[in-house]
Amino acid sequence: MKILVCLGNVPDTTTKIKISDNKLDATGIQWIINPWDELALTRAMELKEDANNLVDGVSVVSVGLASAEPTIRKALAIGADEAFRIDCEPTDAFFTATQLSLVAKDFDIVLTGIESSDYNGISVGGMLAEIIGSASVSAVSSLNIDADKIIVSREIDGGKETVSTQLPVVLTVQKGIAKDPRIPAMRGIMMARQKPLKVIAATSTANLTEILKFEMPQAKGKCKMVDAENVAELVNLLRNEAKVI
């Protein structure tokens, strides 16, 4: 059984986002593996380490330019066996899913994070399943292999749903799929450069969406402190200034 984890290369979650020329200003940004994808990788490694699961290998794929390679190599340092980089800038969900399909069609289980922490599109996993014609389960929070099928559970309103599915399958995973992302060990860091990182030419496809503009959230207003004794003033402010009651 072969597992593929799709990795997004996203700005560190503490980055102060700046927009210039209607694009993300990448100056000084530290790039990381999209946190949900990193959890997917952790679960993939756990599955591989249990010999009963008969996982032959864990591969990772990312759509991005050469600048994304440090992020990809971190996944190799964590323990992925091989990596693919599809050589183009990911521009929208359909475009990205189409590129990923070049690699994903050869795998039994394809994992993607439920969303990326930068654009939060929540679309790539579903589109990818459709393009490669595989089963698909979204918002998966646990994943186990049971012989030739897999058992996953998903959070639903007020409870949990357990689903069995045949392979191949694309799973979009969310928090809960693994406890913590793994920290690469020194040996893994040292080996990462010796593992294969294949660069694949992008396929020609068009975007389905176009970003018209970005807007920064409005700055928060100044906090007003009201004395605990002064309830009338509080009610007045909530009614007439904040207009929430």
Partner: protein, 380 residues
Amino acid sequence: MNFEFTEEQLMIRDAARDYVQREAIKDVLERDEKSEFPAKHVKALGELGFLGMMADPKYGGGGMDTVSYVLAMEEISKVDASLGVIMSVNNSLVVWGLQKYGNDFQKDKYLPALCDGRQIGAFLLSEPEAGSDASHQHTTAEDKGDYYLINGTKNWITNANSASVYLVVAQTHPEKKHKGINAFIVDKNSPGISLGPHENKMGMRSSDTHSVMFTDVKVPKENRIGDDGFGFTFAMRVLEGGRIGIASQALGIAGGAMERAIAYSKERKSFGTEISNHQAIAFKLADMAVKIENARNLCLKAAWLKDQHKPFGIFSAMAKQYAADIAMEVTTEAVQIHGGYGYVKEYHVERLMREAKLTQIYEGTSEVQKIIISRDLLHD
């Protein structure tokens, strides 16, 4: 000149940061309060490869360079300087000393377990009357033909209780003075070794420090490191490299204090605004940043020289003296910025200040570093 780090160096820095920010931070205050050894963190750091970072991979080491080591030590010590010193002693004194000067038998026997954290090591040089003055060893190692017999007391030994492997420096030929000194690998469980009480220290309280008494401890001949009389040179060479570790630890302590001071100054308000808007506070932060950047550059230069196999002893002395002294200054100012909150334990900066003080004292005081530096300047 190239100030860029490699991808691997950055990955190691981030791995060290991720570990301590995620795990060691959780119990650092409690361990400081209770003087509790961070056994589970040491084990985890061993598994990640941080305890034998620079050792040859054929002995289970990480095969990384000294620059990576500086970056890792800095990140770990920002959160937990006790963990930093445990790591520094193991990496730069014990593992490096054995790899550089041990024979194949000694390396094969001891290095693998020391590199992956199954065992840790301790370096036994200081004595009640021989700290900075390391050439006057009162501990004796009498040559008895096929073994040595060690007698004496070692003081201030980091990892004394937790270590399995001791590197012990002792006098074999008193008439030859420092040229009669030897260094030995000694199993901590050897008959005749006993430990003094756990030292109740001002800082670095989570590292275990004891005096160690040797009474007729038999050490096989094969456990001597290098030729007869090599011990003093061994200790001095090892300490040259050790200074980079402690300098980086001091750098981390200072960096941890500055990060906390910046965060606090942006939250705390006085006179109607965040205190970071007061120039008195902002300038303190600027001073901290300059000192830390200077210390980092000194640490990295010493590390880089060591990696290039060039003489680095003067630079490691400069790095150690400067980083330790600015760690004391920066942590003191970080407490000042925190005001009353800085004086209580939950805000961490008073702990960092207590930890900083030791970096000016151990592995060669700041004054000893100045002796090393000035002798080099004045040497004809």
